[in-house]
Symmetry: D2
Subunit: 116 residues, 4 copies
């Protein structure tokens, strides 16, 4: 894990501990909270066209920025609780994706690997 | 943004570009994809007790680790598309949360700030 | 509740009871399962344009139809567990929405009521 | 489709038409909105224990009731847009589930059918 992410996780752990929130932060509950934050992000986009979503006005962009932060925060908390190194996990997943989606085979195609 | 996160975003951007997937990666669509990955994480926990979620067996832990990676990957892609610095956004959000949830006031309490 | 919905809820309750699944079907867990099914629905649409989503091919339409059924099933189960009459709840919510979104005021506008 | 559900769908279609909202109600967008409502339901349960979720206080129960209505409303809208008969789809899905999860085989077991 990068030092910077590790430091952020420690701040978040301290934030929870100071509020006696560890009792609520089971992986099950944190996964729920993460998905709720992801939905709040979706809510910002649900009635926009794709084109509109590419050029947000300043007000919505700021709301989206803070929703991204919420997702990031719960993701870091959950990874911390499960002792998962996110950088490492991303490396492993990208390697898997490179095998599942070879560039020359899937170019311009959005199907899932098991639909080929 | 940390150099490490920036480097990961560049790998992901290259991965998408090599597959001509930028056409699919509007912020709207990436937000949807992020929420779908968050739900796949929730699915791993939905029938477990909180206690069970704290001590996953090796097989489930590995699936969860890769689902966390998927959420992280789409989060980085979406932040990149919107030119949002995630570390900076997290700092700003934590500062907001410190004001909304003062430790001495919310200790051991899981209510939302607007329920006090 | 309509007799037909009630009958469907009883079939679902019997299905769960025959498998000794009531222990898993707490409202908390059913809400998670419902959101997971909703995400599986979203997954079918995430890389489609809105236009494409309006004219699905037969294969995808059938997958979507069964995902809609999954959402419906968990919704009925959850409502049953909490003893909520869905028809009644929908009536009440529509009445609220009529007050929050008066037709003459919101015509052609997709903002949330608190953004006006 | 039951007459009652059909009548409710017609009210919802009229509600949308009177507000000129059909332009926003593509299946893609309605699926997003449905998943957002499902997440608002999850939010009510995320910090509760399963036991607490079985005995909600009156205030939370009423919020949950209206969130269930929101999910139901978008589910009916989406099914209507795609011309899917929800009762019929549920029947078909239950028949599939009976084959995937034979009672004698899965009793007291919460694994997915492909984990057996």
């Amino acid at each position: 894990m990068s030092d910077e992410l590790r430091a952020l996780q420690q701040r978040l752990a301290a934030f929870a501990a100071a509020r006696d929130w560890d009792q609520f932060h089971s992986p099950k509950n944190l996964a729920m909270a993460l998905s709720v934050e992801a939905a709040e992000l979706v809510e910002e986009f649900q009635w926009l066209t794709e084109e509109q979503s590419r050029r947000l006005d300043a007000e919505r962009r700021e709301r989206v920025r803070l929703e991204l932060a919420d997702v990031f925060i719960y993701l870091l908390r959950l990874a911390d609780t499960l002792d998962v190194d996110l950088m490492c996990a991303a490396d492993d997943k990208i390697a898997l994706n490179e095998r599942k989606y070879p560039a020359e085979r899937v170019r311009g195609d959005s199907r899932k690997y098991d639909e080929y």
